[in-house]
């Protein structure tokens, strides 16, 4: 007996100047599930994320979130309804202290309804969130200018921004890229815990070994089309996937 899916993506397409970046991709997601999106560079993963989160308007197709059609809605509305995302090319608000970066999501209409999103609580909530994503407590890092943060920290700041919104779905676009092995290792338990708390996770990732520790299902994109879907083991077993992606990956490594 299946539940109502929390997110339903149907036949989503987008082309840029004649190139089909995403071509008829669809999938469903149950609440609390963890989904990985993998594929070679330029296979349309980031565009798919942008289409779901409203940063790019699709040419055709539908995105249904909890039974509501959110196709092509402005990004902030989609965030407000409960889908938060991180960016592959993460950039902080470089002219302000790190913890002040989190005031922005905490000031949003969604976060203001939460505990800790009220005026006067926000600074403390921000520090707490930073600690949660692995900024050392009592260190001076949260008070430094965000522009001076190393890349791995900026990524974690992105994750903290998602958490600040207390969303139902978190979409992480290559969170691990630019992180060291040990940084990834320290983030993995957090992701598992977030998932256990009932949040649905979608992760776009290149580092499959780490990804497969978190997700229980994956879809594979190539040239904007979905070429496989299933558990990590099933996906890796598909010959087409090996040809398109994993083959070249092993050659590189």
């Amino acid at each position: 007996m299946k539940q109502q899916p929390i997110l339903k993506v149907a036949d989503l397409s987008k082309s840029f100047g004649g190139v089909h970046a995403v071509n008829g991709v669809g999938f469903e997601l149950q609440p609390g599930e963890t989904l990985g999106i993998i594929g070679p560079n330029g296979s349309g993963k980031s565009t798919l994320i942008n289409l779901i989160t409203g940063f790019v308007k699709p040419d055709s197709g539908k995105v249904i979130f909890r039974g509501q059609d959110i196709t092509g809605a402005p990004p902030f509305k989609i965030v407000t309804s409960g889908i938060a995302r991180s960016f592959q090319m993460a950039r902080s608000f470089s002219s302000m202290p790190v913890y002040k970066n989190l005031i922005v999501p905490l000031y949003s209409a969604r976060a203001r309804k939460l505990k800790g999103g009220q005026y006067g609580d926000r600074d403390e909530t921000a520090i707490h969130l930073l600690e949660e994503v692995g900024f050392e407590r009592d260190s001076s890092v949260p008070y430094k200018l965000a522009g001076s943060l190393p890349h791995g920290y900026v990524k974690r700041l992105e994750l903290a921004r998602c958490l600040a919104l207390d969303p139902e779905i978190i979409i992480l676009d290559e969170l691990f890229s630019g992180m060291s092995m040990s940084e990834v290792a320290s983030i993995l338990p957090l992701l598992e815990r977030i998932n256990e708390e009932g949040k649905t996770l979608i992760m776009v990732e290149h580092r499959l070994r780490e990804l497969f520790r978190v997700v229980n299902r994956a879809i594979v994109l190539n040239f904007g089309t979905k070429i496989a879907e299933g558990t990590p083991e099933e996906v890796v077993a598909v010959q087409e996937v090996r040809d398109a992606y994993l083959g070249s990956e092993t050659e590189d490594a």
Partner: protein
Amino acid sequence: MANVSYRKERIDRGIKARTDDIFAIASLQETLYLLFPRLLLIVPLVVFPLLQGIIGAYWETVFLIALVVTLLALSWDLLASVGLVSLGQALFYGVGGYFTAFLSNYLGLPPLISIPLATVSGASVCTLLLYPVLRLRGVYFGLITFAIPLLLMRTIEATKILGGTEGISGLAPLPGLTVELYVMVAIAFVGVFGLRRLIDTDYGLVLRAIRDNDRSVEAGGINVPWYKAQAVFIAALPATFAGAFIAHHYQVVGMSAFALDYSVLPLTAVVIGGPGSFAGALLGAFVLVPLSETLRQFGTLRVVIYSVILLIFVVGLPEGIFRFAQRKYQQFERLVPMEEVAKE
């Protein structure tokens, strides 16, 4: 020890660190340290309007113009804090002027009502007009704000609408120069200190974040165009006010209200004073306007001179006078050999 290079180190002065918290009021010296720069700003502005007998009405009027430029510059600075570069402050200025002329002449409202009404309605109209551009990034806002007032001017000149080149005259007068100066000084203070406060609140933080990285702000669940529109409205207020006020001061408003001067002067003032601090806008206006008056004998060469000043500041001293002075006041500098730092 082959190549010892030096870097400049800046350290807060002890007194700056001590005066950072509330206990500063316990010591006279520290209280004075805090008060001195503020008084340096406030006292001359409060005293100057009283000196009319000594320095004459001409320089009092120059003072009034400096206050007008201050308000336009404050408006510019707030827009810049959200990442909107305005090249047409004259738009707000002119709209304020023409609105109050309409309210005063056709509806017969007294200045006490027509000026505030023109301020608010003018700011609303400007915001509506500019709203579509706010979704676009980059220099687009600058291009549009530059073009619209100049095109308005040409339209008024060619078609004789809104009184044509003559303008609309016969506006109700204001009660006299001293009162006018004090009203403007009060508004300028409210502008400087109010905006400084505003930009430090969480709301102001969101506005500054939009300038840094609008995409992340949107991903934080915030309606970016709507916040930008609010910023444009707030920023338009001091500028439309200045336009309306001056229209009543001269009792006439003409198409020269849309002239390039009212776009270039505030811009130059902020660049000289230092953007992002609002106090810099005030400082810049009070450096620039009297300077431009003393250079009047050089004819249009003075425009060349302040273009060059503008260039020097933009390229050479982008932080502006205010931040420069603030740094000198709060910190001392010394050269540190790099290795010493490495050892620490």
